[in-house]
């Protein structure tokens, strides 16, 4: 069992009477790649700032390697941050920016020069040493910010949407570089993004946040396949969230029809939320054995790797369907879902949980 590198214990933070983090606790293991994922304004940057030492929490403690660092100033913490923006020094060129931390640590000139070369190569900006910061594009600035942080070889690297300004291809390249770097140097990463695909590909642990709460923490597979609540389900990928009733263990009722499922322990005749991913909705012949629900196809969009379609069932509910085979609008169809693809979730009960109900607009941010 690896030890905990960062331990946030019951952190709360308020800005002008606005509770931004509410009793947040989070443990991060050494050598892991943890991603904080959530809609804009949910407190990701605030969490990073508290770990980095730029904000003091109103309540709670921060432990680093077992030591309480809640009140330690940032320059004394053994970690580096890639800030969301504006953190490069405008009066220095690229090389001077990268050398800043090393010069403070009084490293030799040879060592520094070598590090600059290495870091620029890594972020694909070889030969940019003498460039002015103002003369760089937003994406190039972000990459210099990454280079400037990693040359210090910190134990922990905090990255606040470091690839936000890059185009898709460069972003994917940088994603691989970052992962390679992480494995090479053995740095623990805490990564912030609101791009769910980036989170799924890069991390070994994802922390889904909303409104200052942790909604779910788990591996990408767990987050995607077994979302614990409707918010997580809508935020990660497309999904159909439908009301249902747990008739008994392994049997759930959707739109008045019984489906077999693999969940148990919810009690009998209990109202639940159900997540079904659009790629798990099977369109079958309406008169076949398999068809549980019946409906009519209404919309089709060709998305490249598949068709995105809408199907309206007899009781008026809309189902999002992803499939490689086309079902023309107007076609009468049947719907079937494999038991293991039906994810049952408790309905939110408390006020707090109600606050985390899916807000589609925000989730799409």
């Amino acid at each position: 069992m690896e030890n905990k590198l960062i331990d946030l214990v019951n952190i709360s933070k308020t800005f002008d009477h606005d509770l931004v983090l509410d009793d947040l606790s989070l443990s991060i293991k050494e050598n892991s790649f943890v991603t904080l994922l959530g809609p804009s304004g949910c407190g990701k940057t605030t969490t990073l700032r508290i770990i980095g030492g730029f904000l003091t929490p109103d309540k709670g403690q921060v432990f680093f390697d077992g030591k309480d660092i809640t009140n330690l100033p940032p320059e004394k913490r053994q970690l580096n941050t890639v800030f969301q923006k504006y953190a490069l020094f405008p009066h220095m060129n690229v090389a001077e920016n990268i050398a800043f931390g090393l010069k403070i640590k009084k490293k030799s000139k040879d060592y520094i020069d070598e590090k600059i070369k290495y870091a620029l190569k890594l972020v694909n900006l070889e030969g940019y040493e003498k460039r002015d910061i103002d003369a760089l594009s937003g994406g190039q600035q972000q990459r210099i910010a990454i280079a400037r942080a990693i040359v210090n070889e910190p134990k922990l690297l905090l990255l606040d949407e470091p690839l936000g300004a890059l185009d898709l291809k460069l972003r994917q390249e940088m994603q691989y570089e970052l992962i390679r770097l992480k494995n090479e140097l053995g740095i623990t990463f805490i990564y912030v993004t609101h791009d769910q695909e980036e989170a799924l590909t890069m991390s070994d642990t994802i922390v889904v946040m909303n409104k200052g709460y942790i909604q779910q923490m788990g591996t990408p597979e767990q987050i995607y396949n077994e979302p614990e609540n409707a918010f997580v389900a809508t935020f990660i990928g497309d999904s159909n969230i439908v009301d249902g009733k747990m008739i008994e263990d392994y049997v759930v009722e959707i739109s008045g029809k019984k489906f077999r499922c693999i969940d148990a322990g919810f009690g009998t005749n209990k109202a639940v939320d159900i997540v079904i991913r659009p790629e798990d909705v099977e369109i079958v012949q309406p008169n076949s054995e398999k068809a549980v629900l019946h409906g009519r196809m209404t919309h089709v969009i060709f998305k490249g790797e598949m068709y995105e379609m809408l199907c309206v069932t007899d009781d008026g509910k809309e189902w999002l369907v992803h499939s490689t085979s086309l079902h023309e609008p107007g076609k009468e169809v049947g719907i079937y879902v494999e038991p293991q693809n039906i994810q049952i979730m408790n309905k939110p009960t408390s006020e707090d949980e109600a606050a985390i109900d899916p807000i589609i607009d925000e989730a799409e941010d």
């Binding site: 320059e75 800030f83 953190a87 800043f100 931390g101 403070i104 210090n152």
Partner: protein, 275 residues
């Protein structure tokens, strides 16, 4: 093409203004500087800048302007820094309170200053009523320096404040993140980034202080002839316009050189917003 024409039309009043009030007077100054009473060409007026009496008043003015500029920097920097760091919405209002005197007539400000430091002025009144010995600084260099500082301090605070406000908090966080302590953050980031503002402040304090007529006249009691006073006398008392122009000409060249040097330090987009 049309746009260019329109721009030119809009610029016309300014062009006329500049020609009428800057270029033509300058041409006159140059003309008078290089001629004598019988309108013959001469360099005597210009060279006489370096005659010991004039040189002395120039050096005197240079010294006092330099000292007050330095004092202005020392006073203005912490003020500007405090304003920058107090992130309240009121801080820009407080800045304007500080630079409010700028909108008051310069002469009035000197009179106000005079009533403070006079022999029977406000300061001495307070000192004597407390049983302390009164101070006598009117008609000394100290009075002139204090007057210059008082008069020109806002012109140092404002550009400094502007350049400090341009520094993003995240830039400073970046420095601390990389291990810089508060002192290093100042010396390596804040100070270098404030140099453009400081340099415009220096130009805006040093040059008016160097050429002042009123401050030295009123607070120095006529005992100190600075270069500005000498030039004024040549024009108004001695009525020797040729000598006055000759001295002015050299002073203008000197100012051009100072501005040329300082221009290298200022941001291209550095703007001093007074309103």
């Amino acid at each position: 093409m049309n746009g260019k024409l329109r721009n030119r039309l809009i610029a016309t009043p300014y062009t006329i203004w500049m020609i009428g009030f800057i270029v033509i007077p300058l041409i006159f100054v140059v003309y008078y500087a290089f001629t004598n009473d019988s309108n013959a060409f001469t360099v005597e007026n210009v060279i006489s800048f370096f005659n010991p009496i004039h040189l002395k008043s120039f050096i005197q003015a240079f010294k006092l302007a330099l000292i007050s500029t330095i004092i202005c920097i020392i006073l203005a920097y912490p003020i500007a820094l405090i304003f920058r760091n107090s992130k309240t919405k009121k801080s820009s209002f407080v800045v304007y309170v500080f630079i409010l005197p700028m909108w008051m007539n310069g002469l009035l400000r000197i009179y106000a200053w005079l009533t403070l430091i006079e022999k029977r002025g406000v300061i001495n009144l307070i000192l004597t009523s407390l049983g302390l010995p009164s101070i006598n600084i009117v008609n000394t260099e100290i009075a002139i320096i204090l007057g210059m500082v008082y008069d020109f301090l806002p012109f140092m605070i404002l550009p400094l404040y502007n350049s400090l406000m341009k520094i993003k908090d995240e830039t400073l966080n970046g420095a601390r993140d990389l291990g810089a302590n508060e002192l290093q953050v100042f010396t390596k980031v804040i100070f270098p980034l404030s140099i453009p503002g400081m340099v415009s402040g220096i130009t805006m304090v040093f040059i008016p202080a160097l050429t002042t007529v009123a401050i030295s006249y009123m607070l120095g009691g006529g005992l100190f002839l600075l270069i500005g006073n000498v030039i004024e006398q040549e024009f108004l008392t001695t009525a020797n316009w040729h000598l006055g122009s000759g001295l002015s000409f050299v002073l203008i060249i000197f100012i051009f050189i100072v501005m040329g040097i300082t221009n290298n330090f200022t941001d291209k987009d550095e703007e001093v917003n007074i309103i």
